[in-house]
Amino acid sequence: MTTTPGVGSIVRALSYVAVRDLTMRVRRLATHPVRLALLVAVIGSLGALQVGAIATRGQNPVGTPAGAVAGIALLLCISVFSAVRRSPIRLRPGDVAWLVPSSRGPRSLLAWHLGAGACRLAVFGIAAGVVAILRAGEVTLLAFQPAVALTLLALFLRGTAFLAHLSTTRGVPRTVAAGVAIAVIAPAALPFVVASLTGGPQPPLAVTRAAAVAGVVLDPLLAAIRAPDPTLWGPLMLAGGLVAGLAVLVVGLGHGYQDEAARRSWERASVAAAYQDGSPLAGPIQELVAARLPANVSSFTRLSNLTVERALLWRALANLRRSWRWDLRPTAVLIAASVTLAVLAPTIVVAPLGGLLLLALPGFRSGVVGELEHLAIRTIPGRPGAKIRAADALPVVLFTVELIAVAVPVVLVMGLPASLLVAAPGIAVANIASASLVALVVPTLGRRLAYSAALSGSAYLVMTAAGGALLGTPAPHVAGLAVLLVGTLWGGAAWSLAGRRLGPIGALS
């Protein structure tokens, strides 16, 4: 007779697994002196930093470096992007077999994984606090303030990722979930990012409502990690309340938790079970099952799973080996022109760069355009979006290299900041992704060229506006980053739309 496990038994089981896991990790540390030395060094460094903070409490500068907030915002964006595509939890066999299918299991699993990540950082913080107390020779609660802040920070990061993933399992499209999260994070972090890049003054926290929220949560956490101070306990409690609310929301929504890895593992188990009773086919079929439906599937895509991406990239490289002499001739001419003009006619040195950008407008460089002449891009197994990005990867790299090669003399002669060159990948992505999208939507060649030029031209205009707005400011070197950001977003959107069109022909009609 099967019974539904209660919360108590779930907690006991998870605790047992956690203790066994911890024991194994500690044993491994004993046999890996380098890892052990690293761990001791990290904890010792944190502790040493806190010694100074304890000694100078009350005198530390108020506030958080803008760079730290910008870094956390970037981490949040990456974790949200990852979470809307795959579960942020790496499941263990026991989770798949027992926890996820049970009625209270998904919530317990989410709560456990939220807590486990936070506890790991808490242990680091507490250990560093103990080191600090020992070295300072004074027992003070302040030594444990970083541990509290680290724990809350881990909960905040994990909770945001879990919330993003849960929204997709409740029917919210992935792009919408990621878009909403980024729309909240980006304006909140932007003032900090700009301040960090320009070295300007700390932005006021109330620049926007979102920035204020970021400030309420992140500012005390990061300040407490960097420089513990008695005045931070209050803001820390407020941040802790908000983070706890996030955790409660995640666990509350947790019954809808789904994981592709769990589904595939169950399939494998059910098929294997069906053939294990002495069937003459049991051996071969179990081999087949093992090959096609692996158990304990990771929730994350590993490099070894990027089959279609590797295949298309390899094909493009193999083709380039024979075609580069012809493909790169126009670029070689433009590079030579750029260098020559830099020496002889510096006033028109920008002409070759303009020529390269104009030549790229019709989208001849798109890898997808070339692949569409063949059936493989439609028939080889793989996700359409992955196929498109893989087909375009090499052209993006090549165009980036060409842009930089032609632009270097321009930058040198015109005295522009070299950091402008970081814009090159953004321009390449926007241009090539636009061409790929057009190729999949517009069937006839003539119209395709015109539409591609129009779309890429629009991308150029938007990127120029974004970069140009910053070029005249006291932070001209940020202009390149702005172009890179806008170009990448534009290209990402174009690739995303193109992925929806790479179905069988006729999906367009």
Partner: protein, 253 residues
Amino acid sequence: MSGEPLGASNERGLVVDGLERVFDDKRALDGLSFQVTDGEIVALLGPNGAGKTTAMRCIAGVLLPDAGRITIAGAPAGTVPAQAAISFLPEHPDLYPGLNIDEHLRFVALSHALSGWRPRAEALLERFDLSEVRDQLPGSLSQGMRRKAALSMALLHGAQVLLLDEPFNGLDPQAAAELRAVVGDLAGQGVAVLVSTHGLDTADRIATRSVVMAAGRVVADGTTAQLRRLAGVPDDADLEAVFLALTRSDSSV
């Protein structure tokens, strides 16, 4: 979370049900339905314009049908499991001009994450007399050699469903014999094979069953003996006479 098995269908091999496809004002497929079970070789016959190539391209996931259902090894056509289970040889060899024959085979191996594919590739190159030209680009090869290269690609990844669209066009007699032998071997290993061909003698020699199409739908489906009876021709009549009788009447049998 459902936890249901992959591919809701238990149907193996290839199932085509009520397929329809219209190009502008021409109805290329008009409720086409047939099935190819594992280990079976089915010849898809029909006059020019009957819709054979359109059907093949829909099954391969290159064309989207307007209506109907296609299941490949239990998975709906166009899904990743279906794409992994099928191999398609188009009527005209689809080779990359910048890759030599060996690189084409490597590309197929990479696309399907094949391990230990090299011995199989070597055997196919040997079998189709391609070993000497493995380093050559398609542009320097005859049409027949290009077709054999495309065949080797289609046969490399060990598909569960094999689609061959006019595979014997341009093949010399030796290569045609090898292809018939390979197809027979694959069917013996449980692969479902669908061969679109104009060669009635070929269909008679390799197919376990023939599906005769006209005007986008099936007009007859069965073994040669069954088709003779359906067409009302003598028992000693050749397949051409059967085919002509069936496609002239153009009525579903």
